[in-house]
């Protein structure tokens, strides 16, 4: 049920119009960061206020919303943002990637390929890919305008000289349609290939930094690299211990005091779907229900011996 004391999707109409105009300009100039007058939201800066404002400006009553953080629907901040939209927009929510029309995400792109009807909204902490090389906005803005990205290439090249490979594992910079260098938000570089030529619309919102940018569907997104050091989106050489998937991004979980560990899909919907389809990994079994009560707020429950 929608809370009647708020406007639909919380934001007032004037604010929504301002954000909508910024989104459209972002779509028209793929990869360029459009400044927008980010509002103070009832949740802290750095906790998804940019993504929340973009989602709020896009939501319509018929939408089905999915919210993930670290790939999981049940991380506390994902729960909190989902509740916010249930309360203020009354929209239906889902954990199934395929059922969602809008997916707000922090740090992951779902494993399951997105489709043409979907919008993926990223929460972005630092939208400027050049920020850690040049802290001044006045300077980085000039660099983008002149398409002067030498600094970034020097940084990546120094990595190779020092470490033998590029030492950036997440928030790996990309170039959009051959023009703007863009920060894909702190997704693991494993997810980078999914940015390119997606049938879905990808929108990026940075609330504190007051920027919105976009990758329209079917847009070329290339991870920066060198001919002799091509981009490598590799991940841990393991299979999921719960569902056995070999191609998904994994979280590492420490399971006991003696350093035992297991690897599980970071995308909880993907893992659950596989287990429900009968797949099982090294330590899991096909699981047909997740109604297990836990005392911790999320995670993996070890064998207790009292399973019915």
């Amino acid at each position: 049920m929608t809370d009647q004391s708020y406007n639909f999707a919380y934001l007032d109409e004037q604010t929504k119009r301002m954000i909508r105009r910024a989104i459209l300009k972002a779509v028209a100039v793929p990869g360029y960061q459009v400044p927008f007058a980010s509002r103070e939201m009832p949740m802290p800066y750095g906790w998804g206020t940019g993504g929340v404002q973009v989602t709020a400006a896009c939501l319509m009553p018929e939408d089905v919303l999915k919210v993930i953080d670290q790939g999981a629907d049940d991380t506390t901040n994902a729960v909190s943002i989902r509740k916010f939209f249930q309360r203020t927009a009354g929209v239906a929510t889902t954990e199934a990637t395929s059922e969602a029309t809008i997916i707000q995400t922090r740090h992951r792109i779902p494993e399951q390929a997105l489709t043409a009807g979907q919008i993926l909204v990223y929460q972005v902490p630092i939208p400027e890919p050049l920020r850690f090389l040049e802290p001044r906005e006045t300077e980085t803005r000039k660099m983008h305008s002149l398409e002067e990205y030498g600094l970034m290439h020097v940084k990546l090249y120094e990595d190779i000289a020092r470490h033998g490979s590029i030492a950036t594992a997440y928030a790996y910079p990309v170039k959009v349609e051959g023009r703007y260098v863009m920060d894909p938000s702190p997704i693991p570089k494993f997810d980078n290939p999914k940015l390119s030529d997606s049938p879905a619309l990808q929108l990026f919102g940075a609330g504190r930094e007051q920027r919105i940018y976009a990758v329209p569907p079917f847009t070329r997104v290339v991870s920066l690299d060198f001919d002799d050091h091509p981009f490598d989106p590799s991940k841990a050489p393991h299979d999921c211990d719960l569902c056995g998937a070999s191609e998904s991004y994994l979280d590492e979980v420490i399971t006991d005091d003696s350093g035992g560990r297991m690897f599980v899909c970071s995308d909880t919907d993907f893992c659950r779907t596989r287990r429900e389809a009968g797949h099982a990994g090294r330590l899991g079994e096909a699981q047909f229900s997740s109604k297990k009560i836990a005392n911790s707020f999320e995670g993996i429950c070890p064998p207790t011996g009292d399973e019915a």
């Binding site: 007058a37 103070e40 800066y45 594992a169 702190p186 570089k189 991940k235 707020f297 064998p303």
Partner: protein, 362 residues
């Protein structure tokens, strides 16, 4: 067998219940009312109003109660509420020259028309804990003060103005940009800088101001005048064709007088820094005026010494404590996807480095 579990929603609900219980504290102790906060913790209320950019003592008191006295959290509550308020229009600029002053001091002139008014200040209290306040307080006897000076007190810097000894501040009819409605664009005009400073974190502005006094962008500041009091807020009503008073607010205004030996573009004269804040918030207003003056190096043709307080982008982008605290505290959110990718990278780099070393040794 291991299974995936859920419980995020329940954990959040439980945490909220726990928080409410902690907020109340020992139920045997009477609950604190927001009127008590408003009246007896007024300097906290003032800070929350100043940094929350909303003049409403009752709501600020509520914010302080709800936040368990965490003033930055209270500022955040006020800001989030403020953004939802419809805007009916803009007031006329307040006239601080017509302020009814409860306090007014100058460090540059021993006396001036209107005199020095000490007002309710900690300045000359001996900082000794007053154990009498531990006991249930009695109403203190009324202070022997002259009745508030209702006639307007001239601005002290006006005397220097008259002799052409201080750089004149000319009025500007342009509507200043609204920091809360437009994205920050740099370089910022002074009006925008002052907006950012007045709602900036008191601690941050204080430290920056202090750094200028210790030589990081020194501006040789004296407090030309510090005044605290109430001013009328007036709004132009187009249908009436004149302005009507819609209320009264308490403000602190500080003008510093800064020695200035001249530059390539400006003659030797005094210059000023300006601070204006909601409520009695004089530490903030003084600090603001020092930082304002330090940021004016460019327009006065001074050298950029590389001092933090001279660096507009550094100051403006980091002064806001609601932004800063949000981003600082977000690192406690789960980052295990990023961390996992770092873990893999470090493992890979280590393996390669160790292999290279072994090879070299052979």
């Amino acid at each position: 067998m291991y299974v995936a579990v859920k419980g995020g929603e329940r954990a959040i609900d439980n945490a909220h219940a726990f928080l409410a219980e902690e907020r109340r504290g020992d139920p045997a102790i009477p609950e604190l009312g927001t009127a008590q906060i408003r009246e007896q913790l007024r300097l906290s209320v003032n800070r929350v109003m100043a940094e929350g950019s909303l003049y409403d003592p009752d709501l600020a008191a509520l914010g302080i109660k709800q936040s368990r006295g965490d003033l930055i959290e209270a500022v955040f509550l006020i800001r989030a509420y403020r953004t939802t308020l419809p805007r009916f229009g803009a007031s006329r600029p307040v006239d601080t020259g017509k302020m009814t002053c409860t306090r007014r001091i100058s460090a540059t002139f021993k006396d001036a028309p209107g005199g020095q008014i000490l007002g309710p200040t900690f300045d000359y209290t001996h900082r000794l804990l007053d154990f009498k306040l531990l006991a249930d307080g009695q109403t203190p006897p009324a202070a022997a003060t002259a009745p508030a000076n209702e006639s307007p007190l001239p601005h002290i810097t006006g005397f220097l103005d008259r002799d052409g000894l201080i750089q004149p501040e000319t009025g500007n009819a342009e509507t200043p940009p609204d920091l809360t409605r437009e994205p920050m664009e740099l370089p910022a005009p002074r009006a925008l800088r002052l907006q950012a400073l007045t709602r900036g974190d008191e601690g941050f502005i204080l430290s920056l101001a202090y750094s200028t006094q210790r030589g990081y962008g020194r501006t040789h500041a004296f407090v030309g005048e510090l005044r605290i009091g109430t001013v009328a807020v007036e709004m132009e009503i187009p249908e009436l064709g004149f302005a009507v008073e819609v209320g009264e607010i308490e403000l602190t205004e500080c003008e510093t007088v800064n020695q200035f030996t001249g530059s390539k573009t400006e003659p030797p004269q005094f210059t000023r820094g300006y601070g204006l804040t909601f409520g009695q918030t004089e530490r903030k207003a003084i600090a603001m005026s020092l930082v304002d003056r330090a940021l004016r190096w460019r327009e006065l043709g001074e050298d950029d010494t590389g001092a933090p307080a001279q660096d507009e982008e550094f100051v403006l982008m980091h002064a806001d404590n609601v932004q800063a605290t949000g981003f600082l505290e977000h690192i406690k959110l789960p980052h295990y996807v990023d961390f996992q990718s770092e873990l893999e990278l470090i493992r890979k780099l280590r393996t390669e480095a160790i292999a290279a070393r072994t090879e070299a040794a052979e």
